[in-house]
């Protein structure tokens, strides 16, 4: 029988985090092995081939496609400035000539004698990759990119929007049950990563956007408010490319759900530290969860750093979180894992776990439990 539980989200107070910083196409790596880097340092750069425009010169000059090449002013591979003449018809006795000008700064890539089309390519687009987090260059892939390594706190969220962002970590709520309200967000929070407890309203998020807050980490947000933020209904959870100044990481899910205590305590412990976050989420095969990385100072590193644990599955004694109604968001300890299938209220026959939640033992489908992975 396949394991019927969701792999847990990681909440690690000290671990080695490795981040691949890879170019989309081959280019230049500008740092060396073992260099110490800051989040904004550029580690690699390249140029993407420019966009392409097609122009039907045959039609524009009203000539046969096979004659197009003879009308071109320069050969294939030549550069043209915007407005420069690229082709000119012979006209009649050298008179009544017509011509076609380059619509953009471009390079002439090809000419078709069948259709009369010419292909023009824009100037290359420069692309740079930064280090994302403070750390050491632990590996260099020549021409492709690097791996940055850091001793850090590493926390995964369940869902996020907006891409990579960074700033000083500021915990705004007293407890993990408290809502992060609009009133709590102030102009001095520009460029910072804010932490709240159970909930963030749409108006509070909008205020954060208007004040250029770098990011927010919170327990829950309303699903239907996403439409207002994104401008469309989010149908599948694939995010990260939104152009949002404030990245948002939800640690628990949609609705008002208090943040897990370990997550909240850990964030509180690192109040004031410089933090990198990424809201990019992809819930498909090859799942990507949003993350919070807080690189540690040497004095904060205690003893031996544990590697990220591989998932060993739920056992008696495991700390778990319920991830579906009716006990959604509650955290407890597994008491036992009865092997036989049990009938739920829905009459679904499932494998279950008995979970102690606030001194009450509840029977919950194992598929609706998630390990709280801690170190």
């Amino acid at each position: 029988m396949a394991h019927a539980y969701t792999p847990g989200l990681k909440v690690l107070q000290e671990t080695k985090v490795h981040k691949d910083r890879i170019l989309p196409l081959k280019g230049d790596v500008v740092v060396k092995q073992d260099d110490q880097v800051k989040p904004d340092d550029i580690v690699a750069r390249t140029h993407l081939p420019g966009n392409v425009q097609m122009l039907n010169v045959g039609n524009l000059l009203n000539i046969d496609p096979s004659d197009v090449e003879a009308t071109m002013t320069k050969p294939i591979g030549s550069k043209f400035a915007k407005g420069e003449m690229i082709a000119e018809s012979k006209g009649i006795f050298g008179l009544f000539k017509s011509h076609v000008d380059a619509p953009i700064d471009c390079t002439l890539e090809s000419i078709s004698s069948i259709t009369g089309q010419v292909v023009l390519r824009d100037a290359p687009i420069p692309v740079e990759v930064d280090a994302y987090m403070r750390g050491r260059v632990s590996n260099v892939y020549p021409e492709e990119g690097v791996v940055i390594e850091a001793d850090a706190v590493f926390i995964q969220g369940i869902f996020g929007i907006g891409g990579e962002s960074r700033g000083e970590l500021v915990v705004l709520t007293e407890t993990r049950e408290d809502e992060l309200t609009a009133e709590m967000i102030k102009p001095e929070h520009a460029g910072k990563v804010l932490v709240g407890g159970s909930f963030l309203s749409l108006s509070a998020y909008k205020k954060a956007l208007s004040l250029n807050v770098a990011g927010i980490v919170v327990g829950g947000f309303n699903y239907f408010d996403l439409e207002d933020v994104l401008g469309y209904t989010l149908g599948v959870a694939i995010t990260g490319s939104e152009d949002l100044v404030t990245s948002l990481v939800l640690t628990e899910g949609y609705g008002e759900i208090r943040m897990g205590s370990r997550t909240f305590d850990l964030l509180k412990q690192h109040h004031g530290k410089f933090t990198s976050i990424n809201g990019a989420t992809q819930i498909r095969a090859g799942v990507i969860r949003p993350e919070i990385v807080i690189p540690l100072d040497p004095e904060d590193i205690h003893g031996e750093i544990k590697a990220i644990k591989t998932n060993e599955g739920i056992q008696a004694g495991s700390m778990v979180r319920v991830i579906r109604a009716p006990y959604f968001g509650r955290i407890g300890t597994v008491v036992s894992l009865p092997p036989e299938l049990q009938k739920m209220e829905s009459e679904t026959m499932v494998r279950v776990a008995e979970v102690n939640i606030d001194d009450e033992v509840l029977v919950i489908p194992r598929a609706n439990l998630e390990m709280v992975e801690t170190d």
């Binding site: 539980y5 069948i114 209904t233 149908g235 599948v236 819930i283 498909r284 991830i323 009716p326 739920m344």
Partner: protein, 613 residues
Amino acid sequence: MAGKELRTILATDCGSTTTKAILIELTDQGYRLKTRGEAPTTVEAPFEDVTKGVLNAIMEVEELSGLKILDGDQIIHPMRDDKTGVDVYVSTSSAGGGLQMMVAGVVKAMTGESAERAALGAGSIVMDVLASNDGRLPHQKIERIRQLRPDMILLSGGIDGGTVSHVVELAEVLAAANPKPRLGQNYKLPVIYAGNKKAQDNIRETLGEITDLDIIENIRPVLEVENLGPARDKIHDLFMEHVMAQAPGYKKLMGWTDAPIMPTPGAVGSLIEMVAKQENISVVGVDIGGATTDIFSVFDGQFNRTVSANLGMSYSVCNVLAEAGLENVLRWVPIDIDEGELTNRIGNKMIRPTTVPQSLEELIIEQAIAREALRLSFIQHKSFAVSLKGVQSQRTISDAFDQSGSGETLVDMMELDLLVGSGGVLSHAPRREQAMRMLIDAFVPEGITQLAVDSIFMMPQLGVMANIENEELAESAKKAAVEVFENDCLIRLGTCIAPAGKPKPGAVMLTAEFDLPGEGKKTIELRTGELIVIPAPYEPIKAILTPAKNMTMGKDKGEALHTEVYGGTVGLILDGRGRPFELSTEKAKRIENLRKWSKSTNEYPESKSLGGA
């Protein structure tokens, strides 16, 4: 050459999350399913080798069957003795996102649509259809191709001997985009050209260098004929050679199988096509998954498949909500529920896709969403499964009053004989009545329609068995596929009997007389708005069905139908809700009706939230 009689067949299906293995054995009652096993698919990190999941699933089969199939990590085949090995091993795959294609044609509604049909029929997801007349400028098309990074491209366009320039122009767009394949950087993108014969040389010149170009017969040699076979076969070959060969572990798996690995939906489609042909019936098959919903149909001997890429029950559940609208999901929910709370719950299902409904309320919501996902997918299917567009037909005076013409949908619900459902929400519904109700409410069958579910989604494995080409194995494997499909694959739910027409409120719309096994004759009057279940086994039952004067059972209005119907685990459902079927827009009335139907069909357990005691 006489075929070899196969004693045991092992087949696996590598899905994106689960790898399923089935073992089929030759018994005194013909070929039967002996046992099955499953294990998580291991295409992705940390394993990155699909064969590990395959071996795990087979190990479970070994344990349950007592047969020794594995020797280390080798499958023993053919059989060494009664207890060791299997005679044949085959597999399908949809892991790693399945096969993702882009297709192109000159006219979107003609060659573009033919190319799309060929790609879908081969089991692919069609990411986009490019056409000369799709309204996009060349640079927009180029940007789109570069963005999507398909696994392969099917380029068609023009009838043989027609104009060359349009299809060459499309090839130039492709060349300018210089697309890179999704998986692996070290090979050229496969492009299949299936267009105007006259343009082949120009296409070779334009695309031969930068892509891995294959030129095959035109998909639309003349306007009146669609020639999809060669394109489908070529897609299957390239799927194996290029796409699968790039996925981790597949080279090894390809070495194990006795027949090429097929894309999962391609295998299912070919099985449905075969069943429809053998029994000379019209069939609709649906597979509702976590991310996508596939629909297959055979009407008038014509096969069609569509895949609704973002209508599913977990990964894309929110997209169902977005496309259907909250009010359309809510109209199936017989309880009062806060809308904000409901959307958050559905959102949470999307971000935690593997959870199961624990409470009755959660189950009801999930099944309401399923109805909408199925309904929307079927609308897409109906608009795609059409007769060829652009064909001129000779018209007589009698046709002047007939609206049918080219581009008409082939789907005729009155003609539909068998509706097969599969996918977790249908196959694993706690009560079979729920599966039957979801199918009826979403597909709205008319007249007499048999319903079934594929209990453990065996259709992919049976499909690939039916497609084995090796002469020595083909006959036996095909026989096994058909027999297992009949005996073990389908759970026959029963038959829906639904007169079409707009019935008068409270009136008797159908009088049905059945000769029930063990019970004798029984006459039932079906009134407007009723749903009646008559328990009956899966056996032929003589029936006389007489609709009211303004209703029809497929013949003239009011004309009685003498026929045979089949029961099943649920039985016969008489549906008096009329066709077209509409729910009341008044909330209280709608909830009252839903509860009444739920009770009469024994859909949900008695519960306070459903107005019970």
